[in-house]
């Protein structure tokens, strides 16, 4: 996030798009809802589903899945047409405005309505609400990024924010909500194929020399590695022979999952390190038992770049060990001793080689309760919001982006759009959440959310088992007629291995971010049995419920 979670409550306008915030980041949603409900601030939701957050929204724009760029260009079209942009900010802080202006000029509300289904009048209203707010925050998540145009979707949001001078001020910004507890930290620490910790490029000789000196090694590789979504196909191509997987369950979480299981079996050697024996672990040659978060010390970095302590509360279960100890043991056995007394000593090394973390210490975290990077020196208070006086590259650059259709659109054979995501009561592949009795009680099994009109069109009753097929696979899943679904688009969460929706999704990747298009693919849906017993359907319907 460019800004902080707490600032959202005081934004004059919040635009939420591609984020089912109240189910996937419920506590961030409380700040957004407080802004709208308690302080009367403007909330605009742009999403293909009628999310719970829509109840608190002043305006809901319902776009066709994948048409985000058309909608965002349409908003900018109206703002520039009506001269509502922040001229001073554009002049002082940005460049390439004319290219943007030229491109969005084509996105008239009428055209956008045709492409996206968003009524022109609503688009105009949303544009004026966003532009009128002195401080407007944009909040987005995987609904924006998990597209073949994911990178361009994000750039378009940045265009919109800069157009109205909303980057670099409190309660504004462009705020991606990271999905997992330490996904921000994993990126910050160099868990990426192209950078060391602190986003220092592996292709930059100076950075490589610095790390070689710090680590006392020579000849660190100077080429960019493969991303996770490239490593898997790389197995069949012979580019990858062995994998060491920590805390990840790709058999469930990867797009086009049937295409994952077989390559994993083809590996010469697969090591899986996790707290449970996952579906991926079952394919491994060696499984190493890791300690859970409650059994070790360390730090996580949250979505607002805040580093916070994780503390050992209970002893490791069985013979399980913290991941850092396991890595140290392996390293020692391979002739490179890593002798750390504990996580704090590792963190001290991180500080030395990572400028944005240099001012963070365990002692400060203990006393101040969390610090937001960049925090370049021990007296630095941390950074609540980014880009205050200048962007990282100097001027903020507008990019002229055109709308592009998703890779797979519905047709006669596969007439529905499938979009995937999470539900409130479950998390990711369910390894943790499906072992909590309360969460299982509320969300015991996979359900496909569909609109009443679609259910009727396909003769499907609420609670009935159905078969959902794409060109890549099929799953059986229980139907749930839901007010959240809009005719033509169904939603299936990806938490359940027995109805693994990623058997259906398409492994089409964004060319830059290599993120799969989880949010749009074409499917068909069929009844599993001719007619279900009515009593069973009624009993199922009763066990639904709950809305954040």
């Amino acid at each position: 996030m460019t800004n902080s979670i707490g600032e959202l409550e005081w934004a004059d306008c919040i635009l939420v798009t591609g984020s089912n915030t109240s189910e996937t980041h419920p506590v961030i949603a409380t700040f957004i809802k407080r802004a709208a409900y308690l302080h009367g601030k403007t909330l605009i939701v742009i999403d293909p589903r009628r999310l719970y957050l829509v109840r608190h929204a002043h305006l809901w724009l319902r776009q066709r899945p994948g048409s985000d760029i058309a909608v965002l260009n349409g908003l900018m079209h109206v703002i520039i047409r009506d001269n509502l942009q922040d001229h001073d900010y554009i002049a002082r802080r940005t460049e390439n405005f004319d290219a943007l202006k030229e491109t969005v000029a084509r996105y008239t509300p009428a055209l956008v309505e045709q492409v996206s289904g968003v009524p022109a009048a609503d688009l105009e209203r949303a544009a004026r609400l966003y532009a009128a707010a002195p401080r407007a925050a944009i909040v987005y998540a995987m609904g924006i990024t998990q597209h073949t145009t994911g990178t361009n979707n994000v750039i378009s949001l940045a265009n919109l924010a800069m157009l109205c001078g909303n980057v670099g001020l409190e309660s504004g910004g462009v705020n991606p909500l990271r999905g997992q507890n330490n996904v921000q930290g994993a990126c910050d620490m160099g868990g990426l194929p192209n950078v060391f910790s602190g986003y220092q490029a592996v292709t930059d000789p100076a950075k490589r020399w610095k790390m070689e000196a710090a680590w006392n090694v020579r000849n660190l590789p100077d080429w960019e590695g493969l991303t996770l979504t490239e490593m898997l196909p790389g197995i069949a191509e012979g580019r990858i022979k062995a994998l060491y997987i920590i805390g990840e369950n790709p058999v469930i979480s990867e797009a086009d999952a049937d295409e994952i299981i077989n390559p994993l079996k083809e590996l010469d050697f697969l090591v899986v390190q996790d707290i449970f024996l996952t579906e991926t672990g079952k394919l491994a040659d060696v499984v190493l038992p890791a300690a859970s978060f409650a059994e070790k010390d360390g730090t996580f970095t949250n979505t607002e770049r805040r580093v916070a302590l994780v503390r050992r509360a209970v002893p490791p279960v069985g013979q399980s060990r913290p991941d850092w100890q396991i890595i140290c043991e392996l390293s020692r056995r391979m002739g490179y001793p890593m002798d750390y007394a504990g996580p704090e000593e590792i963190f001290e090394e991180i500080r030395r080689v990572t400028p944005s973390y240099a001012g963070v210490t365990y002692r400060r975290l203990e006393q101040e309760g969390g610090l937001q990077w960049p925090c370049p020196h021990p007296e630095h208070p941390g950074t609540r919001f980014l880009h205050q006086d200048r962007f990282t590259r100097g001027l903020g650059r507008f990019f002229a982006i055109d709308y592009q259709e998703p890779t797979e659109l519905p047709d006669d054979q596969y007439p529905l759009i499938l979009t995937t995501g999470r539900v409130l009561y479950q998390y990711h592949t369910g390894t943790m959440s499906r072992r909590a009795p309360g969460l299982v009680e509320k969300a015991p099994e996979c359900r496909v959310e569909m609109a009443a009109a679609d259910a009727e069109a396909y003769g499907i009753q609420d609670g009935e088992m159905v078969r959902v097929c794409s060109r890549r696979g099929e799953i059986k899943v229980r139907a749930q007629v839901s007010f959240k679904a809009i005719p033509g688009t169904i939603f299936i969460p990806f938490h359940y291995y027995e109805a693994a929706v990623n058997r259906l999704t398409i492994a089409a990747l964004d060319p830059v971010a290599k993120i799969p298009e989880y949010k749009v693919c074409a499917v068909q849906i069929r009844k599993l049995r001719p007619s279900p017993p009515k009593a069973a359907a009624a009993a199922e319907a009763e066990s639904h419920g709950g809305s954040p």
């Binding site: 996937t24 409380t30 996904v183 022979k241 994998l243 805390g247 996580f300 580093v307 998390y427 954040p548």
Partner: protein
């Protein structure tokens, strides 16, 4: 311009405009007892425990719901105030079945603490013996025991103002007044999303975390501050631990969550002690996994990695960091892959 001033218990104090008498007193170090007051919510003045004498006012005023004004003269500790508070507490104790012996809130109950402080005798006007109270135990997370409810409605404020879930409200009127969810339904059949904010807000034992019941009194628990292992919000949590096991998780009053949690953070921690946790390394032999000790497993991994590196070159091995492990561990993993194995094939699930 200097800050406006008022007088509390004969001492002149400054206050900020918009502060209630309660907040002004708190800033000045004067403690006023409260039961319904809850930070980050709008004042309701429901419990009347915080009443104070305000010179010029006809009756006692609730400090939590009366705004400070320049020149106000407030007394927080007079005989009249004391008597009113005692009466309120006596009525509360009489309104239910406040038996502390096996109450989960014992030692952590704000009503119990005030009864002790004001030395309230057993209720003079108790309800007739055999009076029954609503008791709800039909979900696996939250128990509602209205025999211990004092109708302070702090739960409603927590649900409405803090979480903005709008799932519960004060229902009915007069002596029938009670807390209701969705037209007086059990939580499980209502719009409740089980964030448990109401449980954390309840000053007595009327709303309970069902998992934690009978697992340990408040003074037997050790609280360990940590960070939630679910989504990327990074909520600060207190792991409440007894004898090496987590028995409850509560939201810490810290940034970013300010005490709030969601259903996963509060009720989703059982995986830690789940019997299916991996307890030993496993090695695949003849197509199935068998138990192994650490020596054998680590040696095997190190040997195989070394062999593969020699035979195929370093760029044939990939390593996946994880969004589930700590910064320190992610850092070591990429260091291991780069410095020891010599590959940049390092990534994690950020895209999923």
């Amino acid at each position: 311009m200097s800050a406006p001033r008022m007088t509390i218990n004969g001492v002149p104090v400054e206050f900020s405009p918009g502060q209630t008498i309660l907040e002004a007193a708190q800033s000045a170090g004067v403690s006023i007892p409260t039961l319904c007051h809850y930070p980050d919510t709008r004042p309701t003045g429901a419990c009347r425990v915080c009443v104070v004498e305000l010179e010029g006012a006809r009756s006692l005023v609730p400090a939590c719901a009366t705004y400070s004004a320049p020149g106000q003269v407030v007394h927080t500790d007079t005989e009249r105030v004391d008597a009113a508070r005692r009466m309120v507490l006596e009525l509360m104790l009489a309104s239910g079945n406040h038996n502390c012996l096996i109450c989960e809130a014992g030692g952590d109950c704000e009503l119990q603490a005030l009864a002790y402080r004001y030395q309230i005798d057993p209720p003079a006007f108790g309800k007739p013996p055999g009076t029954t109270y609503y008791y709800e135990d039909n979900n696996s997370m939250i128990i509602r025991d209205f025999s211990r409810c004092i109708q302070c409605a702090r739960c409603v404020k927590a649900c409405t103002d803090r979480q903005v879930n709008l799932a519960i409200a004060v229902g009915y009127r007069g002596a029938e007044t009670t807390i209701v969810a969705a037209g007086d339904q059990p939580y499980i059949d209502s719009e409740c999303v089980f964030c448990g904010e109401c449980v954390q807000a309840c000053p007595t034992g009327a709303l309970l975390d069902k998992h934690a019941r009978f697992l340990g009194r408040v003074w037997e628990r050790q609280k360990v501050r940590s960070t939630c292992p679910y989504c990327g919000v990074g909520c600060q949590i207190d792991l409440q631990v007894k004898e090496g096991r987590i028995i409850q998780v509560t939201g810490a009053d810290a940034v970013p969550n300010r005490g709030r949690l969601c259903v996963k953070g509060r009720f989703g921690w059982h995986f830690v002690h789940h019997p299916e946790r991996l307890k030993t390394p496993l090695i695949k032999e003849n197509g199935s996994l068998r138990k192994a000790d650490w020596e054998e497993a680590l040696n095997l991994v190190a040997t195989r990695f070394a062999e593969l590196k020699d035979r195929e070159g370093p760029d044939k091995i990939g390593g996946w960091c994880s969004a589930r492990i700590t910064n320190e561990e992610n850092y070591l993993m990429q260091k291991f892959m780069r410095a020891v194995l010599g590959t940049n094939h390092v990534d994690h699930c950020a895209r999923l």
